[in-house]
Symmetry: C2
Subunit: 129 residues, 2 copies
DNA sequence: GCGACTTTGACAACCGTTTTCATTTTGTCG
DNA sequence: CGACAAAATGAAAACGGTTGTCAAAGTCGC
């Protein structure tokens, strides 16, 4: 039975940036969906496990999720003001991480890379207002 | 009065990798220090705010702290098995992050980069055992 | 010593997340 | 179409790291 999971996935796809489980839950309830918070958590975990959504932790320790366009390994450029997110590839970073790990004798090297900034429209909004 | 804070800082300096607040607390109590968990949390926050220690979040959402050798911007190569941590510089990554932000019109670009792996001694231990 | 201010820490509250478990839904075999 | 086993659901409780509360203890200037 994947209807709930699909509903969660759809809700996530409709969002521009990263959303917390509680965000998704609130939005679904807003839209009249009959779903429990537990199920949203479970669906998000399943989607994350299956690689259909990306997860990352906010500074406050909350898990946030995003339905990304590509399955391939990529990173995120996130607007810290509006949450607008761009998926970016970084072959240079991949190589760098591998190299750094190798230099120090580390194996099974993975990495987390996220870039934050203020997007064009947000910075012009700030300048204007 | 900074004695407690210094004690926390010292304990952290004695550790090789990143340690959680509760780790630090347990270790200090082990060593006979009379200190409360609340105070350890406050000290770590103060140290982090002052830039004297680095903070990052584990996958489980726990905050972990480390007294780093350098004040300068750097990243970490962390053994996911024993926590052994190497401070690494990555000028290429800094430039890449700036460039990626610029390309998409983002300003005030910051980034988080952490590299995880299994260190040499841990991977040989695994192979042996 | 005395009052004003700061720091401390036991404990309770918080909050996101996970677990529990009874109920509902789904899939499947007759 | 039943009927039953397995999976999914969700309300409520539990959990765990972290933060807030507040009274007691410490520190400083006098």
């Amino acid at each position: 039975m994947t209807t709930r999971r699909d509903a969660v996935h759809d809700t996530l796809r409709r969002s521009e940036g990263f959303r917390s489980a509680q965000d998704v839950y609130a939005e679904m309830r807003q839209d009249g969906a009959k779903i429990g918070l537990t199920t949203v958590y479970r669906a998000l975990q399943a989607l994350a496990d299956g690689g259909q959504v990306d997860v990352l932790r906010t500074d406050e320790g909350e898990s946030v999720y995003r339905a990304c366009a590509t399955d391939a390994h990529h990173h995120h450029l996130v607007c810290r003001r509006c949450g607008h997110t761009v998926e970016v590839a970084g072959p240079a970073v991949e190589r760098w991480a591998e190299a750094v790990g190798g230099e120090h004798g580390f194996t099974e090297v993975t990495h987390t890379v996220e870039v934050f900034g203020t997007c064009a429209s947000c910075s012009s909004a700030v300048r204007a207002g």
